[in-house]
Symmetry: C2
Subunit: 325 residues, 2 copies
């Protein structure tokens, strides 16, 4: 089980290894949103996404002799890079199972970080879990799941610790914290950290329209799946359904989810370029999109949005800039 003590312990292990990303604000974004918008740019984290935190947390928590045999992960890309880099920094091998249609940049980077990459056919119905477990058993590797893993949730929770401190410095102690949500590791980790450090800040998952499994699950009070396994421009945050560990945490602590369109994700990438000078990937921009374009679903004078990653291929980024007209 992940609790607040696990998050503070993860923060200790991450010290000097993960970046403390700043909390940004632009008067132009505030004007669009009609309220203050504070942005936590985890795209500036090592490997270009928050996933490095959870990966480092999990790899660093393993007993040295277990870690030495190597790490295995399955991921559409950002978890892959985080695990590959965390393993390499610890001097141990890693094997990453990735969908064959993952963005070229993420596949290339994962290999460049020294990982062995095994691809599978996402649309064809191959199960990454089955492939992962088979390789894990065969080679004695330790599988680090992307979200349903207590040490990963604890690592992602350190984003929440920083938000609580940094928002207070900017005078914001209550309101919604919008979080890009796939399997829910980041959302549930942040929710646990806020519960302890800033109880008037409330985490809320944000998802792409058509892949809003967490939003619908929270509304229904039970875990529901997406109809399709892939097909969103927001590839980084598409997962089949909320996690068995992450969903109960979100159910207990999170506000309702918000779903945004692909166009809104692209528009908020362009605004992040223009006003914050950061590079967001589509899935990493959905929380900012909710802050900017779904203000009617938000209450309070200020909102916090996590930009969870920036690993986007240039052609998609050019498409996003095209929304500026």
């Amino acid at each position: 089980m992940t609790d607040f003590a696990a998050i503070t312990a993860a923060a200790e292990r991450l010290k000097g290894h993960a970046r403390r990303t700043p909390l940004l604000e632009s008067p132009f974004l505030n004007e669009i949103a009609g309220r203050r918008v504070l942005v936590k740019p985890e795209c500036l984290q090592h490997t270009g996404s928050f996933k490095f935190r959870g990966a480092w947390s999990a790899v660093s928590a393993l007993p040295p002799e277990v870690r030495a045999r190597g790490i295995l992960a399955f991921s559409s890309g950002n978890h892959a890079q985080g695990v590959a880099y965390a393993a390499a920094q610890h001097g141990v091998p890693s094997v990453i199972i990735m969908p064959a249609d993952a963005p070229a940049l993420k596949l290339a980077n994962t290999r460049a970080f020294g990982a062995e990459v095994i691809t599978y056919d996402r649309a064809g119905g191959e199960s990454r879990e089955e492939i992962g477990q088979a390789v894990s058993a065969e080679r004695g590797l330790t599988l680090i799941r992307p979200y349903d893993e207590p040490m990963v949730i604890a690592g992602q929770g350190t984003v929440g610790l920083e938000i609580a401190e940094q928002a207070a410095e900017l005078g914001v102690t209550s309101g919604d914290v919008l979080v890009c949500c796939g399997g829910g590791g980041l959302t549930s980790g942040i929710a646990l950290a806020l519960e302890a450090k800033a109880p008037a800040l409330r985490a809320r998952p944000v998802e792409p329209e058509g892949f809003d499994d967490t939003t619908r699950s929270l509304a229904a009070g039970q875990i529901l799946s997406n109809d399709r396994p892939s097909g969103s421009i927001c590839d980084a945050i598409v997962s089949p359904q909320p996690g068995d560990l992450t969903f109960p945490i979100q159910q207990r602590l999170c506000g309702p989810g918000i779903a945004v369109s692909d166009t809104q994700a692209l528009q908020s990438m362009a605004q992040a370029f223009l006003r914050l000078k950061i590079v967001a990937e589509p899935g990493g921009a959905v929380a900012l999109a909710a802050a900017l374009y779904h203000g009617d679903q938000i209450q309070g004078d200020a909102v916090i949005a996590v930009v969870s990653g920036g690993n986007v291929d240039p052609d998609i980024f050019v498409q996003a800039l095209g929304t500026l007209g």
Copy 2:
């Protein structure tokens, strides 16, 4: 005269107003450069460039009754935005003299920050100094020069204070600090801060080819001018010649300058997008370009590069991404 005490005093005035930008690093950039490259992304500063620091330093240092009459500045864009925002945050009016061919984004932003913008014809030989002085005398405004101004140099020097601290945390205490250089306010301010706080770190100006007035002036031991007043893609850092205040500081403290091509500036913008997830403008990317593509002119295991700004129009950014091939 700007000295170290003026920089620490500016740092006090900037506290809680300017952002402490992080110091970023990517294994991919290290590989290109053949050494560690630490990047100080001042594009993440308020208004998208380091200029906010100098502007806030100067505006905040004025006697309240003088400040209340208003501020005047002349600038190709980043100083304009910095002064406009600093004035607005102090609740006082500002008038900004800008070249008519400045990037559309910078003109629009300066107006959006509440400044009155007066444009002039840069290629036609109009003197921004003469226009500025006339308006200043007429309205009782205080002119804040973009670089030859002690309080501005002191404000820019706070970048050097942060670099000294943050580089030491990453284990780097000696080597070159490459600085995008126009009139020399940032370079000389950083040089003064490093002299006191990290004497084995040495500031070096980086300029666009064809507009390398500071590089040539340092080599000649006297102030030399550029042949042309404009025409570089690196518009933000083109100035006629080194400043009367900034040049002696650079002469005393800085290493030799480096000139980079427009193509290299665009390539380093693309690398900053890909590897650091930050948005750099061409002039803001020249120091990183020197780190990546002029390693033969640099010594030591590590180099620090300041990305000085990110206020770039989307079409130029798309052009930069095109260099990725």
